[in-house]
């Protein structure tokens, strides 16, 4: 049955439609793969009974010809998405054994379309991290290793469980979220495809909030086509999220294979960093050549405020997080550590419940919003954010259809290798991805090659607002040229 796990969603969809196998068989094959891969620590909760019940129900529907666009496809769900009656923790001790009495909008749309839930996936605590090492369930192992080495590498973060599980063939696709690069960076580290949609494209309702003006849900999958299939189900207007945009959801899959002849692709000079590894530079040049060969026109563009995106992010995101995470008070849900007064109860609960990275960000966020510092930090950062967004607007106004950049400044690194002494070292991972969140734009990471040690590297395409379709068209060209990458199984 192992070959049932190596298919793409598009292939499985065809197999289910022509009755080559049932959703129950497909689901069982994935449940077996998950069990055999527990050493990766990708899943924090397996839901085999629920998975089989959903698969049986959808098999009955398929038999009657009533299956939806994702009928019978087994997926993993990042533990940031509230799932009704299934423990949801954001991988934080402070949520404890939280059992949501409701379902997030994005996951409810996946079930509406016939998908099957295999379980909940590991992530950095409250999605704060770039290596999945801040999870209260411990780090996730990347299925990729350096050639000839047994060192465990991180899968990136915060959607590390999603990326690892998809790369290791434990689920056919996964939900993820991206606040500063949390979909695209782990996708690049694991040779999977990750899509961060335009802000407002997917509802944030029922997703544990980190930084509300930056958070977006999106898919991680094994092909550009699969990511387009998932996006169509995940996207759409939701009256329960006031920032969700009321425009129709296109058939993203139809964008695959569309001609890109004459499209203008911007190559931003500010992304060429001092000391950038030669292999990243080479990958970038190669990717540009592939797009040119497909008929696109390459133009050098300038995004002058690029270097300020990450520092501005580290004011805006913690500020919003400090406000969003005020709800964890030990009174209404989750962990409670007693105190003599209610104030002490709050302080003890939050000291015990938050991990180091979350505490650090809540504190810095509290500081930049506090009296006397608001103008110097928060207001200034929000003005810089306007300038970052304007850089992109100017670029698109000159006729640029999309922008090509590296996805990350390096390949995956070892567990415990980064950020021990200085948290900023870890933050620099998101240097190419964070601008996209600051400007609210869509971005896709596509596997494009390997480094000298055999580790995957990705390229990023950045699009105009609500033009994910162009990213799917261009992304598939990169994919066709680069080929697919599957990690050799060692777990």
């Amino acid at each position: 049955m192992t070959d049932l796990t190596s298919m793409t969603i598009a292939e499985a969809r065809a197999g289910l439609a022509n009755k080559s196998f049932t959703s129950l068989e497909l689901t069982d094959a994935h449940l077996a793969a998950m069990e055999a891969a527990r050493s990766l620590n990708a899943f924090v909760l397996e839901t085999p009974d629920k998975a089989r019940a959903m698969a049986r129900a959808v098999d009955a529907k398929i038999a009657k010809g009533e299956g939806g666009p994702l009928a019978g496809i087994p997926l993993g769900i990042k533990d940031l998405f509230a799932t009704k009656d299934v423990r949801t923790t954001a991988c934080s001790k402070i949520l404890g054994n939280f059992i949501p009495p409701y379902e997030s909008t994005v996951t409810s749309q996946l079930w509406r379309d016939g998908a099957v839930m295999l379980g909940k996936l590991n992530n950095d605590e409250f999605a704060m991290g770039s290596s999945n090492e801040t999870s209260c369930f411990g780090p996730v192992a990347n299925p990729w290793r350096r050639e000839g080495s047994n060192t465990t590498l991180v899968p990136g973060g915060s959607s590390g469980g999603s990326a690892s599980a998809v790369a290791a063939l434990l689920c056919m696709g996964a939900t993820a979220t991206d606040t500063g690069g949390s979909i695209r960076q782990p996708a690049a580290f694991t040779a999977t495809v990750g899509v961060k949609p335009t802000y407002g494209r997917c509802s944030r309702w029922g997703i544990v909030a980190f930084a509300s003006s930056l958070d977006q849900a999106g898919p991680i999958a094994r092909s550009v086509r699969d990511s387009a299939i998932l996006m169509r189900s995940m996207a759409g207007h939701d009256p329960k999220d006031t920032t969700s945009v009321d425009i129709g959801v296109p058939d993203y899959e139809a964008a695959i294979g569309k001609s890109v002849k004459g499209m203008k692709i911007g190559i931003p000079k500010e992304y060429r960093l001092d000391g950038m590894p030669a292999e990243i530079e080479k990958l970038w040049t190669e990717g540009a050549a592939w797009l040119k060969a497909a008929g696109a026109e390459l133009v050098e563009v300038s995004l002058p405020h690029t270097k300020y995106a990450l520092p501005a992010y580290y004011i805006v995101a913690p500020a919003e997080a400090s406000s969003n995470l005020a709800r964890y008070d030990g009174v209404r849900y989750g962990l409670r550590v007693p105190g003599r007064s209610i104030g002490e109860l709050y302080e003890n609960t939050r000291a015990e419940g938050f991990g180091d990275e979350v505490r650090r960000r809540v504190m810095i966020g509290t500081y930049v919003l506090s009296a006397g510092y608001y103008d110097a930090y928060y207001l200034r950062a929000q003005k810089v954010r306007t300038l970052i967004k304007k850089d992109f607007e100017d670029c698109f106004a000159k006729g640029v259809n999309a922008i090509l950049t590296p996805a990350t400044p390096s390949a995956a690194f070892g567990v415990g290798e980064k950020g021990g002494a200085d948290p900023v070292e870890m933050y620099l991972n998101d240097i190419f991805t964070v601008t996209v969140n600051m400007a609210g734009l869509p971005g896709i990471a596509v596997p494009a090659g390997k480094d000298a040690q055999g580790l995957p590297l990705g390229l990023q395409l950045i699009g105009r607002p609500f033009d994910e379709e162009t990213l799917f068209s261009l992304g598939e060209i990169l994919e066709q040229a680069a080929g697919r990458f599957t990690p050799p199984r060692w777990w």
């Binding site: 004011i315 200034r380 607002p465």
Partner: protein, 95 residues
């Protein structure tokens, strides 16, 4: 700008997170590393620039001012650590 030990304790209190005296120097170092990193924003000319308040240029939709949910107290208190008769229990606040 950098923070001293007293400021670290004040921020922790504002954030309602208990910190021990032993944790303060370490936290101070981390917060100062972050503040040093964001310091480069002071080089940007922001004269006449409006702060970003909405990511997507759209007017926030407002729903009708009507009750559209409720009668679910069991769900509301279902995850609470301590409750009584559908109330959340906390240490005594008023004497």
């Amino acid at each position: 700008m950098s923070v001293d030990a007293a400021t670290v304790r004040r921020i922790a209190h504002l954030a309602r997170i208990a910190v021990t005296d032993a944790e303060v120097p370490h936290l101070q170092g981390e917060l100062n590393a972050m503040l040093a990193f964001v310091e480069q924003l002071s080089e940007v000319n922001i004269d006449g620039v409006e702060p970003m308040t909405s990511v997507t240029p759209m007017e926030m939709k407002k729903r009708a001012d009507v009750v559209n949910d409720g009668e679910i107290p069991d769900d509301i208190v279902g995850n609470a650590p301590e409750t009584q008769n559908h109330f959340f229990l906390v240490p005594k606040v008023v004497e």
